[in-house]
């Protein structure tokens, strides 16, 4: 069952253009020029109940604008959005009871209050009776391991602890859909990993549908089974993570330590990435040449050590972004 249905969604912004310098400022004061930016162009997709999808794209791709339209913050110019049978632009308040939002760059907690007081405040915002809020705080406290700092003012918490509290605050009312906009921004790798495993546990426990935007490939790879890539306001890829890897992983990186120099220039399907005499790093396009053929060219007798790896997902995604730019 689809909980999110987005159909032909579009949004444009009118931006004032200004030439450089004081002269430019004066000119734009007398005769302002505007540019219409199509932030989101005719995008459509659906998300099933309990799914965790990654909604990714380079800066300015339109992902935040799309999420803001789905949460009722922005009004779309064209198209329709249906979240759990509700239209965000018409049923904003009703929808707010059903969804949770965490914006990594926008804090919603009161910094001088403790997480516990903040959670009580959020409970009141969602009209939840006190006894139920207490129960929910206890449950989420265990799940997100907040015990150590639940009674410390938010301003004294580390960024990782604060993000955990932000996520808990957005879960107090048991939302059916959770929008996470860059939840791991600015966190160190250990804390990131911790947040990821907590999100995963939450999704498993409550069957919450999660829409995640992130620039961190680790977030996407470890959390989501499906990925939607947007660029220049359009969806350039909507596929499962498995398919993404399968279709785009037709290139392998071969790093070899040799006891003899080898010349692989002009070999079809092989790109030399690094050649330092006895140390060689090549990219093999498996559509044109198999890995075993590439190894034969190196001559196995001359190989001291060899390492064959996939292209990092980060590079694959960058390539998809670039394809969209062309």
């Amino acid at each position: 069952m689809s909980v999110i249905k987005v159909k032909n969604l579009s949004k444009t912004f009118k931006v004032k253009l200004k030439e450089k310098g004081l002269k430019g400022s004066l000119k734009s004061l007398v005769k302002p020029k505007y540019k219409i930016i199509k932030a989101v162009k005719d995008i459509s997709f659906e998300v099933e109940k309990g799914e965790m999808i990654a909604f990714i794209g380079p800066n300015g791709a339109g992902k935040s604008t799309s999420i803001k339209m789905m949460t009722g913050i922005l009004f779309p110019d064209k198209g329709s959005i249906d979240i759990l049978g509700l239209d965000p632009s018409k049923d904003r308040k009703k929808l707010a009871y059903e969804i949770g939002c965490v914006f990594g760059q926008k804090e919603q907690l009161w910094t001088h209050l403790t997480p516990y007081d903040n959670f009580k405040f959020f409970g009141a915002i969602y009209d939840i009776p006190n006894s139920i809020v207490e129960k929910k705080i206890k449950e989420l406290n265990e799940l997100f391991e907040l015990d150590e700092f639940i009674n410390t003012p938010v301003r004294n918490l580390s960024l990782g602890q604060r993000i955990r509290c932000e996520i808990v605050a957005s879960l107090i009312h048991e939302p059916k859909v959770l929008f996470l906009d860059e939840p791991t921004i600015g966190l160190d790798p250990v804390v990131k990993e911790n947040i990821r495993s907590l999100i995963k546990r939450m999704n498993k426990e409550y069957k919450t549908t999660v829409v995640l935007t992130s620039h961190d490939v680790g977030d996407i790879e470890k959390l989501c089974k499906r990925v939607i890539i947007v660029n220049k306001g359009q969806i350039v890829l909507d596929d499962t993570m498995e398919n993404l890897k399968y279709h785009y992983l037709n290139k392998k990186i071969v790093e070899a330590k040799m006891n003899k120099e080898v010349n692989l220039d002009d070999e079809e399907g092989i790109t030399i990435l690094k050649d330092k005499g006895y140390n060689l790093k090549i990219e093999v396009d498996t559509k044109k040449k198999s890995v075993s053929d590439a190894i034969k060219l190196l001559n196995p007798d001359n190989i001291v050590d060899i390492n064959i790896t996939n292209i990092p997902l980060e590079d694959i995604i960058s390539d998809i972004y670039k394809d969209g730019d062309e």
């Binding site: 913050i73 308040k93 707010a96 804090e107 009161w110 001088h112 915002i125």
Partner: protein, 264 residues
Amino acid sequence: MLTAVKNQFKITLLSVKYALQREMLNKFTFFSNIIFMIINNGCFLIQWIILYSLRDGIGGYSFRQILLLWGLAAGTYGFSHFFFKNSYGLSSAINEGRLDNYLVQPKNVLLSLITSNVDVSAMGDILYGYIMIFIYGFEIKTFLLYTLFMVIGGIVLTSVAIIWGSLAFWFGKVDMVANTMNGLPTSFATYPDGIFKGFIKLLFYTIIPIGFASYMPIQIITDFNIYYFFVVISVTILFVILAFLIFYKGLKRYSSSNLMNVRV
């Protein structure tokens, strides 16, 4: 419907309570802001004492009415700035995309936004208003009417601030316009209306509505007039409706932003 209103009221009070708690973190700043505001207002009264020692009945006001005028001007300003401080920063909140957090909550966006901050020094204004009432001459009726008109006047000033601030949805940076228009009622409200004539007086009953926030209430407090009373109440309701209508009309044009925000 009634439960929704009750819940909204509960959240509004909680917001004010938490915002006040935040201001109380620094004891010295908290008390000095209040005390110095009272002293600041008191200093202005000296010029009126001097003026009234030279002549009586300026602009048709006795000195006691001047006390009432100053009390109400400070009280309405204080009430508005204490409970609805963020209505005075509405245009920058709109331009900087600070409405996002309120838009994803199931409560009234405008009320949640304007009550999420308090101006502690405005407590000094409210206290100063009551001091003026006691000097004017304490009577239960005067006290109750004054309190009612302090609230009503505060709501009128807040509505005006929301209207001017909401223009940011259409015209972008309107901070200067909004600040000037919000400052004008305060500048005029401490002078007796009798010294103003013609067009200026017309402004007091339109775009600088201190006629409804100060002058008519003073007439009612000194000499109760049921007709004036209903006019003030009706106009206040109109201003509130207008403020909400303009804000929500503009909200459809809200473009948010990706600036980093912290709720401090």
